[in-house]
């Protein structure tokens, strides 16, 4: 039986203290949070294996800086979900607001609905799979990791991109500075196949296009001034 934490009667501090202690204990027990009522900073800073299910929608920074824990939001998530995640899995059954997975270093952020603007901004190694569409300026200055989009991407995808890989099945409204379409080689198919399987996505790798950095802005040059 999972342990239930009711946020109608339990303060955020107590909820997080309970979850953080359970994660640190390395016992990997299931926890259920009910009545989240859009609370911010929920289930953040978990450092160890733990299975957390949130029955409802959450506010800002859900599962922030997560390590190892598996957190599922059975609703939508506010801005900055799984920001700076290090490892583990965060699943959003609904939509995600701005900055989903921002600066994440590792783990999997699996968004079953859509993600708003700046999804994967400055990502540093995290894998993000969005089953719907993503908004503008997604993967801005993205450094490492993979962003997979089963739907469409908004304006300026991958602006000022570094070494992150972007896979989009639908249309891309526009590419940002220094982001270009790239050849989908066998190694990329393999990466994408594995990610789609992990995310439970109903899609084939061959349906996607790959985008990456043209690497023309990696070192400042005056001839590129218009792009900065």
């Amino acid at each position: 039986m999972p342990t239930t934490l009711d946020m109608a009667t339990t303060e955020l501090r107590e909820v997080n203290t309970t979850l953080q202690a359970a994660a640190k204990a390395q016992v990997n027990e299931p926890y259920v949070i009910v009545n989240p009522r859009g609370s911010h900073a929920m289930a953040c800073g978990l450092d160890g294996p733990l299975n957390v299910t949130v029955k409802g929608s959450t506010g800002y920074y859900t599962a922030g800086m997560n390590k190892e824990a598996s957190i599922t939001v059975e609703g939508s998530a506010g801005p900055g979900v799984a920001e700076n995640m290090m490892s583990g899995t965060v699943t959003i059954l609904g939509d995600a607001s701005q900055y989903a997975g921002a600066t994440g270093h590792g783990g999997l952020l699996n968004i079953k609905g859509n993600a708003s603007s700046r999804c994967g901004i400055s990502m540093k190694g995290i894998d993000i799979v969005v089953h719907g569409n993503i908004g503008h300026m997604s993967a801005f200055m993205a450094q490492r990791g993979n962003l997979v989009v089963l739907g469409d991407a908004g304006d300026a995808l991958g602006d000022s991109l570094y070494e992150a890989r972007l896979f989009v099945r639908g249309t891309v409204k526009s590419l940002g500075a220094d982001c270009i379409e790239k050849e989908m080689r066998a190694e990329h198919i393999a990466i994408l196949k594995e990610l789609l399987e992990r995310a439970g996505a109903d899609a084939k790798p061959e349906e996607f296009k790959r985008y990456g950095s043209a690497r023309t802005l990696y070192n400042f040059h005056i001839d590129n001034a218009a792009s900065y």
Binding site: T17, C44, G64, P79, N84, A102, Y218
Partner: protein, 441 residues
Amino acid sequence: MDKTPQTLPRQSWTFSNETNSEIRRAAATGIYDIRGGGAKRRVPHFDDLLFLGASISRYPLEGYRERCDTSVTLGTRFAKKPIELKIPITIAGMSFGSLSANAKEALGRGASAAGTSTTTGDGGMTNEERGHSTQLVYQYLPSRYGMNPDDLRRADAIEVVVGQGAKPGGGGMLLGQKITQRVADMRSLPVGIDQRSACRHPDWTGPDDLEIKILELREITGWEKPIYVKIGGARPYYDTALAVKAGADVVVLDGMQGGTAATQDVFIEHVGQPTLACIRPAVQALQDLGMHRKVQLIVSGGIRNGADVAKALALGADAVSIGTAALIALGDNDPKWEAEYQKLGSTAGAYDDWHEGRDPAGITTQDPELMKRLDPIAAGRRLRNYLNVMTLECQTIARACGKSHVHNLEPEDLCALTMEAAAMARVPLAGTDWYPGKPGF
């Protein structure tokens, strides 16, 4: 032989030799000038203030006999574990990457020996720095290079950087020549490429978001760590008020003389306000909110000696922070490297191409050979000595003003030498009881 008198060649004030040299440099290279350090132009500063000292109405304390305390506690508002410092002078954030590992170690050693804190920078926390710093403030910057929850938890305080005095509203750029394998790994980027630091945070905009971000940082660290918010000297009244509203324990206010590792010269010299102009509005904001001394104020940007420290405290700061001065104490711009500065087209005291990674003093470099020139133990000792001297100087002034704690210094202890300084510091022009803008005049 008769010679017709001639007018001497006259240099233009507007088109000075220095200005013309920059025009020629820009014309030749097509790129703006990037450099380290803070504003070099003359701006109203602490030199334009004087202490009045004791008189019949105020008697002094006996130097070396009567106590004048210097301790400061930072983070008393919300943090379970506020920072306790022996002196009101801290070391400002400077990144590993812009500085060598030896320099970071030396900063930690010197600060710890003097009983104060040091601060990470835009490159994450190194083990050398953590290991040698008894009190370490971990900066939370827009780039989030190296950011991770483990380092957050092993920090003594967290500083959310919104801006800095050298470039309020600007990001940063660590040029590729300083990106070694270790620096690159810490920042999750390839070796040798320019590393941009964004000008604003990736996952929040505005004070309402910042309040939630601070909540998240507190939840991750169990509400133990003081949360600082660092602002550049742009709109100090409103930025201070908004930082307090967002839940800051400490506000760090950095004026335009505050240094940077690498920024456009035009940005450094033309954006932001002098440190002197920023302090009173920030203090006013704290007073208006009833938070003066409850939310502590750290002032930085051009602090050089104990008199500067005392003046900043008298204007209402709780502590000051030094960056450039600390590097000079370590050995930056030392005349003993003059021959090498000349080879680089500079001279001791003026060398500011810190971004190029060729610092003869081995401080602002990642070159293994140059780095060896800085002995972190000896350099740390110099920093400790310097911090101790600044503290003694500050105490000397405070005792002369009859104060048993440096925090008892107050604006009434000061006068100003210029109208500008009087207006900015809101203390009387020397010989008068008036300053520009004083109510009732």
